[in-house]
Symmetry: C2
Subunit: 193 residues, 2 copies
DNA sequence: GTTAATACCTAGTAGGTACTCAGTAGGGAT
DNA sequence: ATCCCTACTGAGTACCTACTAGGTATTAAC
């Protein structure tokens, strides 16, 4: 009467990858506070201790997900586009293709505003890094690079949330393009035609 | 050995108000999934069944908070400012003075992206109402009122989240003013000077 | 074929979850 | 002064929470 077990045993790396995928989806749906180890374990077809064997703790699980994303992001952004505007457009285009990831970050970004959230520091650092990156790209093109960087990030984040709520109604890439029109009007003259 | 009880008993309306205040703060910190009835009850100085007597259930609690906010918002926005830009500036100024409420909405907005979240429908309707309102204000001033409305809402939401994470570093009102500069450049000529 | 490593499970702990039931106590109206 | 309404409590239910200890069984190396 032992349960049929179609997935008897996976190598650690493979299982870890599966765990991260499942967790990503679940956090995007429920946030980290709403996530339960049981749900993740069920989603992977193993027991809770089996899951804990791979990630150690619930916080470890979150960490694994965020680490994996950092890694994946580094790989995909290695192409340094030339103008600030092109960089932003590339970012938006990539995000438009992975709503699940975008939602993971949208939910965690809001949740982690609380100082005692396990991802609080991670997101504070991430936001700072993003702003610094934008600001650096803008340096020389505008009087207040820091200020514009905040606005760019804000517009991207804001559009993404609206898009996530109503993906059929809002075309993320198109909306961003027309937003970029006004954001970059001063520093992106049509010389590149 | 009965516990000292300094707040023996409150009229329903007053207690309800207190419950809403405490819940607002806690949801802003933990989200709805992370909220526990015990925490709310403790924050009000009563037991969990005492709390349930007033709100019926956890969902009822959330509903009470959201209803109260709608009411409060209606009261404070009754002043119809003239131009779209002034309306937005007024909104931002008001939000800058109540970070706790802004955070409540930021967290719930992200969390309620999940279709089975108890506030999902509420936030979908709220977003639609907001967009329609902006769009109506913009009609006649621009070619694509709906598109601009989304951008305005996105910018406001995005700036607010960044501001919440780093209130000392970011001046919400100033940031919005300079963002409004580019958003309204075409349709808000300096005729009103 | 034996051994060593490890992916995974069973069973259990200590505590938290929303919620119910039945009763108590305090304040306003009469 | 009494009655009644209701704000509120104590005790309890059924279940979920992350996590641990110790063991099993599968796989890979030799």
């Amino acid at each position: 009467m032992t349960l049929r077990r179609e997935r008897p045993r996976l190598p650690a790396a493979e299982r870890r990858r599966q765990i991260i995928d499942v967790t990503t989806r679940l956090i995007a749906e429920r946030g980290f506070w709403g996530l339960s180890m049981q749900d993740v374990a069920d989603g992977c077809g193993l027991t809770v201790p089996g899951l804990l064997h791979h990630v150690g703790s619930k916080d470890g699980l979150l960490l694994a997900v965020l680490d994996h994303r950092d890694e994946a992001d580094l790989i995909s952004v290695e192409v340094q586009a030339s103008s600030p505007r092109e960089v932003c457009a590339a970012l938006v285009r990539r995000n438009a293709g992975q709503p699940e990831i975008v939602r993971l970050f949208a939910v965690l970004q809001a949740e982690s505003l609380a100082p005692d959230h396990p991802a609080h520091d991670y997101f504070a650092a991430r936001q700072q890094k993003t702003l610094d990156g934008f600001s650096l790209l803008l340096k020389g093109h505008t009087a207040d690079p820091d200020g514009l960087a905040v606005k760019i990030a804000a517009m991207m984040d804001g559009l993404q949330v609206h898009w996530l709520r109503d993906p059929d109604e809002i075309d993320l890439v198109a909306q961003w393009e027309s937003a970029a029109e006004m954001i970059f009007r001063d520093l992106d003259p049509p010389t590149g035609g």
